[in-house]
Protein backbone atom coordinates (compact mmCIF):
# COMPACT_ATOMS: atom_id res chain seq x y z
CA UNK A 1 0.00 0.00 0.00
CA UNK A 2 1.21 3.50 -0.80
CA UNK A 3 2.51 5.17 2.35
CA UNK A 4 0.62 8.41 1.80
CA UNK A 5 -2.85 6.84 1.71
CA UNK A 6 -2.20 4.51 4.62
CA UNK A 7 -3.41 6.89 7.37
CA UNK A 8 -6.50 7.56 5.34
CA UNK A 9 -7.14 3.85 4.88
CA UNK A 10 -6.66 3.32 8.57
CA UNK A 11 -9.05 6.08 9.40
CA UNK A 12 -11.76 4.72 7.16
CA UNK A 13 -11.22 1.26 8.59
CA UNK A 14 -11.63 2.65 12.08
CA UNK A 15 -14.77 4.44 10.99
CA UNK A 16 -16.13 1.24 9.51
CA UNK A 17 -15.40 -0.62 12.72
CA UNK A 18 -17.17 2.04 14.75
CA UNK A 19 -20.16 1.91 12.41
CA UNK A 20 -20.25 -1.88 12.68
CA UNK A 21 -20.30 -1.78 16.47
CA UNK A 22 -22.90 0.96 16.33
CA UNK A 23 -25.04 -1.10 13.96
CA UNK A 24 -24.81 -4.27 15.98
CA UNK A 25 -25.64 -2.33 19.12
CA UNK A 26 -28.62 -0.92 17.34
CA UNK A 27 -29.86 -4.40 16.49
CA UNK A 28 -29.99 -5.03 20.20
CA UNK A 29 -31.88 -1.89 21.02
CA UNK A 30 -35.19 -3.01 19.60
CA UNK A 31 -37.33 -6.09 20.05
CA UNK A 32 -37.13 -8.65 17.29
CA UNK A 33 -37.68 -12.08 18.79
CA UNK A 34 -37.03 -15.11 16.61
CA UNK A 35 -40.23 -16.89 15.65
CA UNK A 36 -38.85 -19.37 13.14
CA UNK A 37 -39.02 -22.27 15.60
CA UNK A 38 -42.58 -21.39 16.58
CA UNK A 39 -43.57 -21.55 12.92
CA UNK A 40 -41.73 -24.84 12.42
CA UNK A 41 -43.36 -26.50 15.42
CA UNK A 42 -46.77 -25.38 14.18
CA UNK A 43 -46.55 -26.94 10.73
CA UNK A 44 -48.65 -30.02 10.07
CA UNK A 45 -47.78 -33.06 7.95
CA UNK A 46 -48.89 -33.07 4.31
CA UNK A 47 -52.22 -34.33 2.97
CA UNK A 48 -52.81 -37.85 4.28
CA UNK A 49 -55.22 -40.54 3.06
CA UNK A 50 -57.13 -42.47 5.70
CA UNK A 51 -59.31 -45.55 5.66
CA UNK A 52 -62.29 -45.32 7.96
CA UNK A 53 -61.71 -47.79 10.82
CA UNK A 54 -63.92 -50.90 10.68
CA UNK A 55 -65.07 -50.34 14.24
CA UNK A 56 -66.63 -46.92 13.50
CA UNK A 57 -70.18 -47.35 14.82
CA UNK A 58 -71.96 -45.05 12.43
CA UNK A 59 -75.48 -45.69 13.70
CA UNK A 60 -74.64 -45.80 17.39
CA UNK A 61 -76.71 -43.14 19.12
CA UNK A 62 -74.05 -42.36 21.71
CA UNK A 63 -71.45 -41.90 19.01
CA UNK A 64 -73.79 -39.58 17.08
CA UNK A 65 -74.44 -37.57 20.24
CA UNK A 66 -70.72 -37.10 20.84
CA UNK A 67 -70.24 -36.11 17.21
CA UNK A 68 -73.02 -33.58 17.51
CA UNK A 69 -71.43 -32.10 20.61
CA UNK A 70 -68.04 -31.71 18.96
CA UNK A 71 -69.63 -30.28 15.81
CA UNK A 72 -71.46 -27.50 17.60
CA UNK A 73 -68.96 -26.48 20.26
CA UNK A 74 -65.74 -24.50 20.17
CA UNK A 75 -64.02 -26.04 23.17
CA UNK A 76 -64.66 -27.62 26.52
CA UNK A 77 -64.81 -24.33 28.38
CA UNK A 78 -68.57 -24.32 28.69
CA UNK A 79 -68.91 -28.06 29.29
CA UNK A 80 -71.38 -28.96 31.95
CA UNK A 81 -71.01 -32.47 33.27
CA UNK A 82 -74.75 -33.15 33.13
CA UNK A 83 -74.96 -32.15 29.43
CA UNK A 84 -71.90 -34.04 28.31
CA UNK A 85 -72.76 -36.98 26.00
CA UNK A 86 -71.88 -40.42 27.31
CA UNK A 87 -68.35 -41.53 26.53
CA UNK A 88 -66.92 -38.05 25.83
CA UNK A 89 -63.26 -37.95 26.66
CA UNK A 90 -62.93 -35.45 29.48
CA UNK A 91 -60.09 -32.95 29.32
CA UNK A 92 -57.56 -33.25 32.09
CA UNK A 93 -57.72 -30.98 35.11
CA UNK A 94 -56.84 -27.41 34.14
CA UNK A 95 -56.92 -28.14 30.41
CA UNK A 96 -59.29 -26.98 27.74
CA UNK A 97 -60.04 -29.38 24.93
CA UNK A 98 -60.66 -27.92 21.50
CA UNK A 99 -63.79 -29.16 19.71
CA UNK A 100 -64.65 -28.97 16.00
CA UNK A 101 -66.52 -25.66 15.96
CA UNK A 102 -67.76 -26.88 12.57
CA UNK A 103 -70.82 -24.68 12.90
CA UNK A 104 -68.59 -21.61 12.51
CA UNK A 105 -68.43 -22.44 8.81
CA UNK A 106 -71.33 -24.84 8.13
CA UNK A 107 -75.04 -24.60 8.57
CA UNK A 108 -76.73 -27.79 9.81
CA UNK A 109 -79.95 -28.73 11.60
CA UNK A 110 -80.16 -26.81 14.88
CA UNK A 111 -77.12 -24.64 14.16
CA UNK A 112 -76.80 -21.46 16.17
CA UNK A 113 -75.03 -18.83 14.08
CA UNK A 114 -74.01 -21.26 11.35
CA UNK A 115 -71.46 -19.84 8.92
CA UNK A 116 -71.36 -19.87 5.13
CA UNK A 117 -67.66 -20.48 4.62
CA UNK A 118 -68.33 -24.17 4.00
CA UNK A 119 -71.30 -25.74 2.20
CA UNK A 120 -74.46 -26.26 4.28
CA UNK A 121 -74.65 -29.78 5.64
CA UNK A 122 -78.41 -29.61 6.21
CA UNK A 123 -80.25 -32.72 5.03
CA UNK A 124 -76.95 -34.41 4.35
CA UNK A 125 -78.31 -37.97 4.55
CA UNK A 126 -81.18 -37.38 2.14
CA UNK A 127 -79.22 -35.18 -0.24
CA UNK A 128 -75.86 -36.88 -0.36
CA UNK A 129 -75.89 -40.31 1.26
CA UNK A 130 -79.19 -41.78 0.07
CA UNK A 131 -78.44 -40.49 -3.43
CA UNK A 132 -75.00 -42.12 -3.24
CA UNK A 133 -73.27 -38.85 -4.14
CA UNK A 134 -71.18 -39.39 -1.00
CA UNK A 135 -70.37 -42.29 1.25
CA UNK A 136 -69.13 -42.58 4.85
CA UNK A 137 -65.53 -43.06 3.74
CA UNK A 138 -65.69 -39.77 1.80
CA UNK A 139 -67.03 -37.87 4.80
CA UNK A 140 -64.54 -39.50 7.16
CA UNK A 141 -61.65 -38.50 4.89
CA UNK A 142 -63.06 -35.00 4.41
CA UNK A 143 -63.14 -34.38 8.14
CA UNK A 144 -59.85 -36.14 8.84
CA UNK A 145 -57.91 -34.34 6.10
CA UNK A 146 -59.76 -32.51 3.30
CA UNK A 147 -56.61 -31.67 1.38
CA UNK A 148 -56.48 -34.95 -0.50
CA UNK A 149 -59.08 -33.65 -2.96
CA UNK A 150 -58.92 -29.90 -2.40
CA UNK A 151 -55.40 -28.77 -1.69
CA UNK A 152 -56.08 -25.20 -0.58
CA UNK A 153 -59.43 -25.70 1.08
CA UNK A 154 -60.58 -23.54 3.99
CA UNK A 155 -61.93 -26.69 5.62
CA UNK A 156 -60.13 -27.55 8.86
CA UNK A 157 -57.77 -30.54 9.15
CA UNK A 158 -58.88 -32.61 12.07
CA UNK A 159 -56.92 -35.86 12.19
CA UNK A 160 -53.56 -35.11 10.55
CA UNK A 161 -53.33 -32.07 12.83
CA UNK A 162 -53.96 -34.31 15.88
CA UNK A 163 -56.89 -32.17 16.83
CA UNK A 164 -58.94 -35.37 17.22
CA UNK A 165 -58.23 -39.09 17.25
CA UNK A 166 -59.78 -41.72 14.96
CA UNK A 167 -62.68 -42.57 17.23
CA UNK A 168 -63.63 -38.91 17.49
CA UNK A 169 -63.58 -38.56 13.69
CA UNK A 170 -65.90 -41.61 13.63
CA UNK A 171 -68.27 -39.82 16.01
CA UNK A 172 -68.35 -36.63 13.93
CA UNK A 173 -68.78 -38.57 10.68
CA UNK A 174 -71.68 -40.47 12.22
CA UNK A 175 -73.36 -37.21 13.21
CA UNK A 176 -72.97 -35.61 9.76
CA UNK A 177 -74.30 -38.55 7.76
CA UNK A 178 -77.29 -39.58 9.89
CA UNK A 179 -80.77 -38.17 9.66
CA UNK A 180 -81.38 -35.56 12.34
CA UNK A 181 -84.54 -35.57 14.35
CA UNK A 182 -86.31 -32.31 14.96
CA UNK A 183 -84.75 -30.46 17.86
CA UNK A 184 -82.08 -33.10 18.24
CA UNK A 185 -79.94 -30.54 20.07
CA UNK A 186 -80.50 -29.80 23.69
CA UNK A 187 -79.62 -26.20 24.33
Amino acid sequence: MNKSIRPFAFLSFALLAVTAVYASDMTKSYEMPDASQIVKDDLIPGATKYTMPKDCKLDDLESIARGEYMFHNLNSKNDKKENLPKGMKAPKEGEVKAYGNCVACHNIEGAVGGGTVGPPLVGYKANFMDTKVRDAQFVYQKIADPRVDANTTAMTINLTSQMFDESEICDITAYVIQAKKEKIRKK
Binding site: Y30, E31, M32, D34, I44, N75, A154, N158, Q162
Partner: protein, 256 residues
Protein backbone atom coordinates in the same frame (compact mmCIF):
# COMPACT_ATOMS: atom_id res chain seq x y z
CA UNK B 1 -45.17 -34.96 23.85
CA UNK B 2 -45.60 -33.84 20.28
CA UNK B 3 -45.54 -30.06 20.03
CA UNK B 4 -48.91 -29.79 18.31
CA UNK B 5 -50.47 -31.90 20.98
CA UNK B 6 -48.81 -29.81 23.62
CA UNK B 7 -50.28 -26.67 22.14
CA UNK B 8 -53.69 -28.22 22.07
CA UNK B 9 -53.35 -28.80 25.78
CA UNK B 10 -52.01 -25.33 26.40
CA UNK B 11 -54.85 -23.76 24.46
CA UNK B 12 -57.15 -21.99 26.77
CA UNK B 13 -54.92 -22.41 29.77
CA UNK B 14 -54.80 -18.68 29.67
CA UNK B 15 -58.13 -17.30 30.66
CA UNK B 16 -57.78 -14.23 28.49
CA UNK B 17 -57.29 -16.36 25.42
CA UNK B 18 -60.38 -18.34 26.19
CA UNK B 19 -62.41 -15.19 26.73
CA UNK B 20 -61.18 -13.72 23.50
CA UNK B 21 -62.09 -16.84 21.59
CA UNK B 22 -65.56 -16.84 23.05
CA UNK B 23 -66.02 -13.09 22.58
CA UNK B 24 -64.96 -13.27 18.97
CA UNK B 25 -67.85 -15.52 18.14
CA UNK B 26 -70.52 -12.93 18.38
CA UNK B 27 -71.11 -10.37 15.73
CA UNK B 28 -72.50 -6.89 16.13
CA UNK B 29 -75.91 -6.51 17.66
CA UNK B 30 -78.17 -3.62 16.67
CA UNK B 31 -76.97 -1.75 19.74
CA UNK B 32 -73.35 -2.38 18.78
CA UNK B 33 -74.02 -1.04 15.30
CA UNK B 34 -75.58 2.12 16.69
CA UNK B 35 -72.55 2.58 18.90
CA UNK B 36 -70.28 2.03 15.91
CA UNK B 37 -72.01 4.81 13.99
CA UNK B 38 -71.65 7.09 16.98
CA UNK B 39 -68.00 6.24 17.46
CA UNK B 40 -67.27 6.87 13.80
CA UNK B 41 -67.93 10.53 14.49
CA UNK B 42 -65.71 10.51 17.49
CA UNK B 43 -63.19 7.70 17.55
CA UNK B 44 -62.07 7.08 21.16
CA UNK B 45 -58.63 6.32 19.74
CA UNK B 46 -58.17 10.03 18.95
CA UNK B 47 -57.25 10.40 22.60
CA UNK B 48 -54.57 7.75 22.24
CA UNK B 49 -53.19 9.48 19.19
CA UNK B 50 -52.99 12.70 21.15
CA UNK B 51 -51.15 10.96 23.94
CA UNK B 52 -48.80 9.54 21.31
CA UNK B 53 -48.18 13.08 20.08
CA UNK B 54 -47.00 14.15 23.51
CA UNK B 55 -44.69 11.16 23.77
CA UNK B 56 -43.33 11.96 20.31
CA UNK B 57 -42.60 15.53 21.35
CA UNK B 58 -40.45 14.20 24.15
CA UNK B 59 -38.49 12.25 21.55
CA UNK B 60 -37.78 15.39 19.56
CA UNK B 61 -40.65 15.31 17.08
CA UNK B 62 -40.44 15.06 13.30
CA UNK B 63 -37.02 16.64 13.18
CA UNK B 64 -35.50 13.90 15.34
CA UNK B 65 -37.22 11.11 13.45
CA UNK B 66 -36.21 12.51 10.06
CA UNK B 67 -32.66 12.82 11.29
CA UNK B 68 -32.65 9.26 12.53
CA UNK B 69 -34.04 8.02 9.24
CA UNK B 70 -31.55 10.23 7.36
CA UNK B 71 -34.20 11.87 5.23
CA UNK B 72 -35.42 15.40 4.56
CA UNK B 73 -38.04 16.35 7.18
CA UNK B 74 -40.40 17.47 4.41
CA UNK B 75 -40.38 13.92 3.02
CA UNK B 76 -41.21 12.36 6.39
CA UNK B 77 -44.99 11.86 5.97
CA UNK B 78 -44.54 10.21 2.60
CA UNK B 79 -41.68 8.10 3.93
CA UNK B 80 -43.83 6.93 6.84
CA UNK B 81 -46.41 5.48 4.46
CA UNK B 82 -43.75 3.04 3.23
CA UNK B 83 -43.24 1.15 6.51
CA UNK B 84 -42.30 -1.58 7.36
CA UNK B 85 -39.01 -0.68 5.66
CA UNK B 86 -35.49 -1.94 5.43
CA UNK B 87 -33.45 0.35 7.65
CA UNK B 88 -29.86 -0.40 6.92
CA UNK B 89 -28.37 0.75 10.19
CA UNK B 90 -30.89 -1.37 12.06
CA UNK B 91 -29.96 -4.36 9.95
CA UNK B 92 -33.53 -5.51 9.26
CA UNK B 93 -36.88 -4.76 7.74
CA UNK B 94 -38.57 -3.09 10.71
CA UNK B 95 -41.78 -1.43 11.78
CA UNK B 96 -42.04 2.19 12.88
CA UNK B 97 -42.45 1.02 16.47
CA UNK B 98 -39.05 -0.65 16.34
CA UNK B 99 -37.53 2.55 14.93
CA UNK B 100 -39.05 4.44 17.84
CA UNK B 101 -37.57 1.94 20.29
CA UNK B 102 -34.08 2.61 18.94
CA UNK B 103 -34.65 6.36 19.18
CA UNK B 104 -35.68 5.93 22.81
CA UNK B 105 -32.56 3.90 23.50
CA UNK B 106 -30.29 6.41 21.79
CA UNK B 107 -31.72 9.14 23.95
CA UNK B 108 -31.01 6.91 26.92
CA UNK B 109 -34.67 6.74 27.73
CA UNK B 110 -36.31 3.51 28.76
CA UNK B 111 -37.65 1.82 25.65
CA UNK B 112 -41.35 1.08 25.60
CA UNK B 113 -42.18 -2.57 24.96
CA UNK B 114 -43.89 -3.28 21.65
CA UNK B 115 -46.95 -4.51 23.52
CA UNK B 116 -47.17 -1.46 25.80
CA UNK B 117 -49.97 1.05 25.59
CA UNK B 118 -47.48 3.90 25.33
CA UNK B 119 -45.77 2.36 22.31
CA UNK B 120 -49.12 1.67 20.66
CA UNK B 121 -50.08 5.32 21.17
CA UNK B 122 -46.73 6.54 19.92
CA UNK B 123 -46.96 4.32 16.86
CA UNK B 124 -50.52 5.45 16.17
CA UNK B 125 -49.46 9.08 16.25
CA UNK B 126 -46.35 8.70 14.14
CA UNK B 127 -48.15 6.59 11.54
CA UNK B 128 -50.97 9.15 11.45
CA UNK B 129 -48.44 11.70 10.15
CA UNK B 130 -48.90 9.84 6.86
CA UNK B 131 -52.69 10.19 6.95
CA UNK B 132 -54.44 10.81 3.62
CA UNK B 133 -51.32 9.92 1.67
CA UNK B 134 -51.26 6.79 -0.51
CA UNK B 135 -49.62 3.75 1.07
CA UNK B 136 -46.34 3.49 -0.79
CA UNK B 137 -44.59 0.43 0.56
CA UNK B 138 -42.17 -0.83 -2.10
CA UNK B 139 -41.69 -4.57 -1.76
CA UNK B 140 -39.17 -4.53 -4.59
CA UNK B 141 -37.09 -1.69 -3.20
CA UNK B 142 -34.22 -3.97 -2.22
CA UNK B 143 -33.52 -7.62 -1.63
CA UNK B 144 -34.39 -7.34 2.06
CA UNK B 145 -37.88 -6.05 1.24
CA UNK B 146 -38.30 -8.72 -1.41
CA UNK B 147 -37.35 -11.37 1.13
CA UNK B 148 -39.71 -9.94 3.77
CA UNK B 149 -42.59 -9.87 1.30
CA UNK B 150 -41.88 -13.44 0.19
CA UNK B 151 -41.76 -14.62 3.81
CA UNK B 152 -44.99 -12.75 4.58
CA UNK B 153 -46.74 -14.35 1.63
CA UNK B 154 -45.54 -17.80 2.65
CA UNK B 155 -46.76 -17.31 6.22
CA UNK B 156 -50.09 -15.97 4.94
CA UNK B 157 -50.67 -19.03 2.78
CA UNK B 158 -49.21 -21.78 4.97
CA UNK B 159 -51.58 -24.01 6.94
CA UNK B 160 -50.49 -24.17 10.54
CA UNK B 161 -51.75 -25.13 13.96
CA UNK B 162 -54.14 -27.73 15.23
CA UNK B 163 -57.00 -26.71 12.96
CA UNK B 164 -54.89 -26.72 9.84
CA UNK B 165 -55.88 -23.22 8.75
CA UNK B 166 -53.91 -20.50 7.00
CA UNK B 167 -54.71 -16.78 7.02
CA UNK B 168 -55.75 -17.25 3.43
CA UNK B 169 -58.20 -20.02 4.36
CA UNK B 170 -60.50 -17.37 5.73
CA UNK B 171 -59.29 -14.12 4.21
CA UNK B 172 -59.58 -15.32 0.62
CA UNK B 173 -63.31 -15.73 1.10
CA UNK B 174 -64.60 -12.17 1.34
CA UNK B 175 -68.28 -11.86 2.05
CA UNK B 176 -68.74 -15.36 3.44
CA UNK B 177 -69.74 -15.65 7.03
CA UNK B 178 -67.75 -17.22 9.81
CA UNK B 179 -69.82 -17.51 12.97
CA UNK B 180 -71.99 -14.54 12.04
CA UNK B 181 -68.97 -12.40 11.17
CA UNK B 182 -68.42 -11.31 7.59
CA UNK B 183 -64.92 -12.28 6.54
CA UNK B 184 -62.89 -9.23 5.59
CA UNK B 185 -60.87 -9.05 2.41
CA UNK B 186 -57.79 -7.33 3.72
CA UNK B 187 -56.71 -5.59 0.53
CA UNK B 188 -60.13 -4.23 -0.41
CA UNK B 189 -60.93 -2.94 3.07
CA UNK B 190 -57.58 -1.30 3.70
CA UNK B 191 -56.47 -3.42 6.62
CA UNK B 192 -52.89 -2.33 6.00
CA UNK B 193 -53.78 1.37 6.34
CA UNK B 194 -56.16 1.37 9.30
CA UNK B 195 -54.20 -0.04 12.23
CA UNK B 196 -53.53 0.92 15.01
CA UNK B 197 -57.25 1.05 15.41
CA UNK B 198 -59.84 1.11 18.15
CA UNK B 199 -61.43 -2.28 18.77
CA UNK B 200 -64.91 -1.90 20.17
CA UNK B 201 -64.99 -5.48 21.40
CA UNK B 202 -61.90 -4.85 23.52
CA UNK B 203 -62.44 -1.12 24.20
CA UNK B 204 -58.85 -0.37 23.38
CA UNK B 205 -56.39 0.53 20.66
CA UNK B 206 -54.68 -2.39 19.00
CA UNK B 207 -51.88 -2.66 16.44
CA UNK B 208 -52.07 -4.67 13.21
CA UNK B 209 -49.70 -7.23 14.68
CA UNK B 210 -51.72 -7.60 17.87
CA UNK B 211 -54.91 -7.97 15.80
CA UNK B 212 -53.23 -10.68 13.76
CA UNK B 213 -52.23 -12.52 16.91
CA UNK B 214 -55.91 -12.70 17.88
CA UNK B 215 -56.70 -14.41 14.58
CA UNK B 216 -53.81 -16.79 15.08
CA UNK B 217 -55.12 -17.82 18.49
CA UNK B 218 -58.68 -18.17 17.26
CA UNK B 219 -57.61 -20.23 14.26
CA UNK B 220 -55.51 -22.58 16.38
CA UNK B 221 -52.12 -21.27 15.29
CA UNK B 222 -49.37 -20.45 17.75
CA UNK B 223 -49.40 -16.63 17.90
CA UNK B 224 -46.17 -15.18 16.55
CA UNK B 225 -44.38 -12.72 18.83
CA UNK B 226 -44.70 -9.00 18.16
CA UNK B 227 -41.81 -7.56 16.19
CA UNK B 228 -40.47 -10.92 15.04
CA UNK B 229 -39.12 -11.06 11.52
CA UNK B 230 -42.10 -13.25 10.71
CA UNK B 231 -44.67 -10.85 12.15
CA UNK B 232 -43.08 -7.87 10.41
CA UNK B 233 -43.11 -9.89 7.18
CA UNK B 234 -46.85 -10.50 7.56
CA UNK B 235 -47.33 -6.77 8.08
CA UNK B 236 -45.34 -6.10 4.91
CA UNK B 237 -47.57 -8.51 3.00
CA UNK B 238 -50.84 -7.11 4.39
CA UNK B 239 -49.70 -3.50 3.87
CA UNK B 240 -48.85 -4.30 0.27
CA UNK B 241 -52.34 -5.76 -0.28
CA UNK B 242 -53.77 -2.40 0.78
CA UNK B 243 -51.34 -0.57 -1.49
CA UNK B 244 -52.37 -2.75 -4.43
CA UNK B 245 -55.91 -1.59 -3.78
CA UNK B 246 -54.75 2.05 -3.91
CA UNK B 247 -55.61 2.80 -0.31
CA UNK B 248 -54.39 5.65 1.86
CA UNK B 249 -53.19 5.75 5.44
CA UNK B 250 -56.18 6.36 7.74
CA UNK B 251 -55.10 6.22 11.37
CA UNK B 252 -56.70 5.47 13.78
CA UNK B 253 -59.09 2.87 12.39
CA UNK B 254 -62.36 1.97 14.06
CA UNK B 255 -63.03 -1.73 14.26
CA UNK B 256 -65.53 -4.17 15.63
Amino acid sequence: MNSLLLKKVLLGLSLTTALLVAGEQFSMSAADKAMYEELKENNPADMNVEEGMELFEELGDEAALAKFLEIDEKKLPEYITGFPRYIKKMGNVVGLDQVLQVMQMEQTKKKDALNSESMTNLLAYVKSLGNDLPINIDVKENKEMEAAHALGEKLYLEERGYRGLSCNSCHALPGTVLRTQILPEMGAQNTGGTWPGYRMTLSKVVTLQERSRTCMRDAGQAPLPLGSKEMVALEVYITNLAKNNKHKVEIPGLKR
